[in-house]
């Protein structure tokens, strides 16, 4: 029996089903969106409104005032610039060095290739927290504390990106290489004019995933920066949470949180197709 016929048979029972599915989905979306909505609403209220009981769950008129106040208070401009630099350098750096290493691994035979491959693979098992103290010492001895180099370079290695490009290169037909050779072009020429132009989708996909990885770093920037002007936004907004004796300016905290989460969330929504591709493919 084909599926169209099956649909026909099932039809009568299905009429009540779809609205229920929609209802459950809308409910889920609402619950998942609620913390964001709540944070946003609070960020538009005055401090008095934000701590009254019961709270109003509707936007009020203090949006601009709150955002301006917190922007100046924690130097939000600087924080956002630093986070952008970190996210861009980390994501583009990971992509660049992974393209090169995957190219070496797939298109050349050289002594120590297996070893290099395994060395890159093992980085998957060494997340920042398990090597934090010693990595910190290494970066200190390089004199990179409180610099962009210290913030970004130790995060740039990427096993997943290397594997993804390796998988992709393996699908490129050998005939293309032969053709390139007949044309007399060398390996770098081949990489530049054949492989790279065909890697667009993979690069875009990895970019989204790695950009978010870089933007959302917390432990490493916390350790490696100590001046206000090198802080990243995710670390910076944590300092807005009022301690016991301070004014409960939660409206400002929420305004800061909204500004910190907007850029990565926008990147996901605008580049959704690449994002899903990058997420799934890089884990294969």
């Amino acid at each position: 029996m084909n599926s169209a016929a099956l649909e026909q048979i099932k039809k009568p029972q299905r009429d009540w089903k779809k609205p229920v599915i929609h209802l459950l989905l809308i409910l889920s979306v609402f619950l998942i969106g609620f913390p964001l909505y709540y944070g946003f609403v609070i960020s538009t209220q005055s401090m008095e409104e934000s701590i009254q009981k019961p709270q109003k769950l509707l936007p009020s008129g203090y949006l601009l005032e709150n955002y301006k106040k917190v922007w100046n208070r924690i130097h939000m401009g600087r924080l956002l610039i630093n986070s952008s630099i970190v996210a861009l350098v980390v994501s583009l750096g990971k992509i660049a060095i992974s393209i090169l290493s995957a190219f070496a691994i797939v298109y050349f035979n050289f002594r120590g290739k297996q070893l290099a491959f395994w060395a890159i693979f093992i980085t998957l098992m060494l997340p920042v927290p398990v090597r934090i103290i010693s990595t910190y010492q290494v970066v200190t001895s390089l004199g990179w504390v409180d610099t962009y180099a210290g913030l970004t370079i130790p995060l740039i290695a990427s096993a997943t990106a290397t594997f993804l490009f390796r998988q992709f290169y393996l699908t490129i037909p050998d005939e293309l290489v032969d053709a390139a050779k007949i044309d007399g072009s060398g390996p770098l020429r081949f990489l530049w004019s054949i492989l790279l132009p065909n890697s667009g989708a993979n690069i875009a996909a990895l970019f989204v995933v790695m950009f978010i990885y870089g933007w959302n770093q917390y432990l490493w920037p916390l350790m490696i920066t100590n001046s206000e002007k090198m802080k990243v936004v995710v670390v910076g907004i944590a300092s807005t949470v009022p301690a016991g004796t301070q004014l409960p300016e939660w409206n400002l905290v929420m305004a800061a949180a909204m500004m910190a989460l907007l850029p990565p969330v926008l990147v996901i929504i605008l580049m959704q197709r690449w994002f899903v591709h990058g997420l799934i493919e890089s884990e294969k």
């Binding site: 709540y38 019961p54 060095i97 070496a104 050349f108 997340p127 393996l170 949470v241 959704q272 994002f275």
Partner: protein, 293 residues
């Protein structure tokens, strides 16, 4: 593997060297240092190191504080993993039906992947705020139980579990949706012909076929909740109240950078390393095939 088509003596080394240098300097060297330090006692300023053998590990073995951090870690990670998988599988299974607006629903969940765990933590911190938060207020209308995370450890754990799960939902849903789309339509149709529908179809056909994805996500959620949630703890509860939310990674940080007990902290890093290595090995051994198919 195939190819290896270009011949060049030094070019491949040049190409692979940036990655290898970073891996050696910032991954391997620090990891060896952690291994080495784990058998030393280090003075607070790092100027004197005394070899103590396994003493740091023995100390952890008998330390009730360390036991508690292990326990808190597993409660936290178990909570994040279970809640995250349950919610996202539910949503993915619903969204995978033939309905309109799939794109909208998908976007409406996926965006959560962009939230940094500490940012999520701060929003949930306010939702749980004992004096101003929405949740304690709601609960106060139905119960007189004092829902205050500053006083009750289990509420603090709940707070960080919610914050971590929320920030990771998009990731889970993306993988479940991708997994559901790989289930052949013919298999589903065959099951329907055999009379399966609704929940039984899901329970006996969809769910077993999804088991590779579920297993993969189980591992990834454990890794996430163990190693990428430091920011939530640090920004929200600082491990408190008491040490109710002091998970292993946070305790490693406290001992290393706050209490300046480098050797003890390094020993904890080594234990964490063993943990993440086992999880990764498990994942690579069993995700390819083995679990169903």
């Amino acid at each position: 593997m195939k190819k290896s088509i270009f011949k060049n003596r030094w070019l491949p080394y040049l190409l692979i060297s940036p990655q290898i240098v970073i891996v050696l300097v910032f991954f391997f060297w620090p990891s060896f240092e952690s291994l080495r330090l784990s058998v030393f006692k280090v003075s607070p300023f790092g100027d004197r190191q005394i070899f103590v053998g396994m003493e740091n590990f023995f100390q952890l073995l008998i330390s009730p504080e360390y036991h508690r951090s292990v326990f808190h870690s597993f409660v936290f990670s178990g909570g994040v993993t279970f809640l995250g998988l349950a919610v996202s599988l539910f949503i993915a299974a619903l969204a995978n039906q033939k309905i309109r607006g799939l794109r909208f629903y998908r976007t409406a969940v996926l965006w959560t992947y962009g939230i940094a765990p500490p940012v999520s933590g701060i929003i949930w911190l306010f939702i749980f705020h004992p004096s101003y938060g929405f949740l304690p207020y709601l609960l106060s209308m139905v119960t007189s139980y004092e829902f205050n995370w500053l006083l009750k450890g289990w509420i603090a754990i709940l707070l960080v579990i919610f914050a971590a799960t929320w920030a990771h939902l998009g990731y889970n849903v993306a993988f479940f949706l991708a997994g559901l789309q790989t289930i052949p339509k013919s298999v589903m149709d065959a099951a329907k012909v055999d009379g399966a529908s609704g929940f039984s179809l899901f329970r006996w056909v969809t769910f077993p076929l999804l088991s590779p994805v579920t297993f993969f996500l189980f591992i990834m959620n454990m890794v996430f909740s163990f190693f990428e949630t430091f920011g939530i703890i640090h920004a929200v509860t600082q491990g408190g109240p008491g040490d109710a939310t002091t998970i292993m990674v946070y305790k490693t940080y406290l001992d290393g950078f706050v209490h300046m007990r480098m050797g003890l902290s390094a020993a904890q890093s080594v234990i964490l390393m063993a943990l993440v290595i086992s999880l990764t090995v498990l994942q690579f051994r069993y995700t390819e095939r083995k679990v169903s198919y």
